[in-house]
């Protein structure tokens, strides 16, 4: 579990969630700070504007009317100079604080403890009881006097600043850990699903070919991934077992003729003096060799047909003629084997195809019937045209055992597992490959008494 958690923290989903959260926090903070800066700056510049207005008004009174007019404007009812109590009211009502000093620096009117330079400055207003910040500025009057105007910094300003501080803190203390937790659980969800697939892949790599990726049944993207991988594995499995069967088949089928060939060579060495015997051995050896070559030929042709390259060479084929000719060519061969071949061909059946391969398809079916039907069998060759074009080669028993039926078209499959009967188990796979090339279906009728093979072509119209 520990290692899993380590892997989760190192997983790309987690790191991405973390990076995205970090970026989100940074952008939010930046937006907050910009907003707060705009608010506070606005408050302060409004304040400075009002202070400037009031100073200008004071100067106007002083120069336009008289010193006394200025003093009257500043003075409360109880006299021109303010007591510290008056500041409470100013603070409450958000009014401005004024001071008018004469050339000696004595406060003639207003709050005597307000001092300020000619540039706006911010400071705590000297007062016996309250400690509040003000912004204030003075102007120098002709004749040496000064007017000073101050304004308490409003509560709004402090609220805005503390909002910025709180927001920053909240982002760091709450949002970041929340993102971490979300990221962790999100990654764990994804991680566990992906891990299931990775484990399957690793298991297959170790050789456990039956291992399959887990499917939750939610049919989300992970299920689709798992299903895709499982399908791929199934296909690989099938191909693998095909290749295995083919390798074993090739090895087995080549071994016998090659061993016989070796045997003949040995006999030739023994009988070197007897030229009659040698020539008999040579002939037998040639037969074994041609058996080997025939197997290679069949494998290569099968490969060529399955690659599908020959479709380009399709021509119009008179299938009726082709079937009749082959049937007539093979009928005497059946007769010599004490079997009968009856031929029933619908006239005028044409299709597009490769005549050479179609001949091979039918010849393989006929040879299969010839070799594997019972003694004195009756074999029927029929070409029927209905909705589809159907070619049938059927014998009257004993048929093919049910467990073998599905595999009858597989390469190197032989119903005779001792592999002693003639043939190489490629004839029917070539039939199927040629049928596939022509978009036709080669089937074995499971209901029939004997072995009943059909090839169903689509009508071309």
């Amino acid at each position: 579990m520990l290692s899993t958690r380590h892997s989760i923290l190192g997983s790309s989903v987690f790191q991405r969630v973390l990076a995205a959260s970090g970026l989100f926090v940074l952008i939010s903070l930046a937006a907050l700070w910009v907003l707060i800066w705009i608010i506070t700056h606005n408050i302060i510049s409004n304040q400075d504007d009002r202070i400037a207005d009031m100073l200008a008004y004071g100067e106007e009174l002083f120069y336009g009317d008289s010193e006394q007019a200025l003093i009257d404007q500043i003075a409360f009812d109880d006299g021109p100079v303010w007591s510290s109590d008056e500041i409470y009211w100013i603070l409450e009502e958000e009014h401005q604080i004024f001071t008018f000093r004469n050339a000696d620096g004595d406060a003639v009117a207003g709050y005597p403890d307000l001092w300020a330079a000619t540039e706006v400055e911010r400071f705590v207003l000297p007062h016996p009881d309250i400690e509040e910040e003000v912004r204030a500025r003075s102007v120098q009057l002709r004749g040496g006097g000064t007017i000073t105007v101050g304004e308490f910094i409003p509560q709004r300003y402090y609220e805005a600043v503390s909002l910025a501080a709180f927001g920053t803190l909240a982002m760091i203390v709450i949002v970041l850990p929340l993102a971490l937790i979300t990221g962790f659980f999100l990654s764990r969800g994804v991680f566990n699903r992906i891990e299931g697939v990775s484990e399957t892949a690793a298991a297959v790599a170790r050789g456990e070919m039956t291992s399959r990726a887990p499917v939750t049944g939610r049919l989300d993207e992970f299920d689709r991934l798992s299903l895709g991988i499982n399908q791929m594995l199934d296909r690989v499995d099938t191909l693998n077992s095909n290749i295995e069967a083919v390798s074993v088949g090739v090895a087995h089928d080549l071994k016998t003729p090659l061993a016989n060939l070796g045997g003949r060579l040995e006999l030739i060495r023994r009988d070197l003096q007897d030229s009659m015997a040698v020539s008999a051995h040579v002939e037998a050896a040639e037969n074994h060799l041609s058996q080997v070559l025939r197997i290679f030929d069949a494998i290569l042709r099968l490969g060529e047909v399955e690659a599908g390259g020959r479709r380009a060479a399709f021509v119009d084929v008179d299938l009726s003629q082709l079937v009749r000719d082959l049937g007539e060519a093979y009928a005497p061969v059946f007769e010599d084997a004490d079997k009968t071949l009856s031929i029933d061909v619908a006239p005028g059946v044409d299709l597009r195809g490769d005549p050479e391969l179609l001949q091979q398809l039918l010849a393989n079916l006929l040879e299969n019937a010839l070799e594997h039907s019972r003694d004195a069998a009756k074999v029927h060759l029929r070409l029927v045209r209905g909705d589809t074009i159907n070619l049938h080669v059927a014998d009257d028993g004993p048929g093919i055992a049910p467990p073998d039926r599905d595999r009858i078209f597989d390469r190197f499959f032989r119903a005779d597992s001792s592999r002693t009967s003639p043939g190489n188990g490629l004839g029917l796979s070539l039939v199927k490959a040629i049928a596939d090339l022509h978009g036709a279906q080669a089937t074995l009728d499971p209901e029939a008494e004997g072995a009943h093979f059909s090839v169903m072509f689509q009508q071309d119209i």
């Binding site: 042709r301 061969v333 050479e356 040879e367």
Partner: protein, 239 residues
């Protein structure tokens, strides 16, 4: 070996001149020896360019041309030869893979085609058939060999005064044989030329039909015209 070769009708005096164009020395060696032992005169070249030079100076009865040659495709070499008005019959050799190859070779002007590996007897039979083909195909309406007679219009065969009751296929087999008197005709030649089949039947398709034909042509007359050449094919001769 010479004893074996005598089967292939290597009569002295019928000295055929063969040009082999084949880059694989082992195959070339095997062919050269086999054909020389059959009493033929053999010239061998590994590259098509050299072969073209030789062809400009001398004439041959037949050319054996490999499909895969260094520097030049056999099909291209063949097109060059045909372009240079060299009409010598050409038998092409190919590795055992493409069926498409054959079509391409025949279109380029090859007269016959053989897939490696092949039996020497098969090659010799085919070369003889090629080299002795009349330059202009005269379609004779009557063919005669000994007391055997074929009327090609009525598609009727007679031996002596008897009409032979042949199936259409048996007639065509006999017609092909009688056009190649004294020559070995192999099973695969019959399959290709008479049936038009390019596959190799596992069963005794040719043998079955040939034995039926022989039962009708030879058996009642005691004098055999069609003989089996063991390991090679059939030959028809005047009795």
């Amino acid at each position: 070996m010479p004893k074996l070769m005598r089967r292939y009708d290597g009569k002295p005096g019928s000295m055929m001149k063969i040009l082999i164009v084949e880059d694989d020395t082992e195959t070339a060696d095997y062919l050269t020896r086999g054909l020389r032992e059959a009493g033929w005169e053999v010239t061998w070249h590994g590259a098509p360019q050299e072969a073209m030079l030789t062809l400009a100076a001398r004439s041959f009865d037949a050319i054996i041309l490999d499909r895969m040659l260094p520097g030049m495709d056999g099909v291209d070499a063949l097109r060059l030869m045909r372009g240079a008005q060299i009409t010598t019959p050409v038998l092409m050799l190919t590795a055992r893979s493409g069926i498409e190859d054959r079509v391409e070779g025949l279109e380029a002007g090859a007269d016959d085609y053989l897939v490696k590996p092949f039996a020497l007897s098969e090659l010799i039979a085919r070369l003889k058939s090629l080299a002795r083909r009349p330059p202009i195909a005269v379609e004779a309406t009557h063919l005669r060999l000994g007391d055997l007679h074929l009327d090609r219009i009525a598609r009727q065969a007679t031996r002596g005064s008897d009409r032979l009751d042949l199936s259409p296929l048996e007639y065509r087999l006999l017609e092909y044989l009688i056009q190649h008197p004294g020559q070995v005709v192999t099973r695969s030649m019959l399959l290709e030329k008479v049936w038009g089949y390019r596959f190799d039947p596992k069963t005794s398709l040719v043998q079955t039909h040939m034995s039926r034909l022989r039962a009708k042509v030879d058996k009642p007359y005691g004098q055999e015209m069609i003989r089996t050449v063991r390991g090679a094919g059939y030959v028809i001769d005047a009795p």
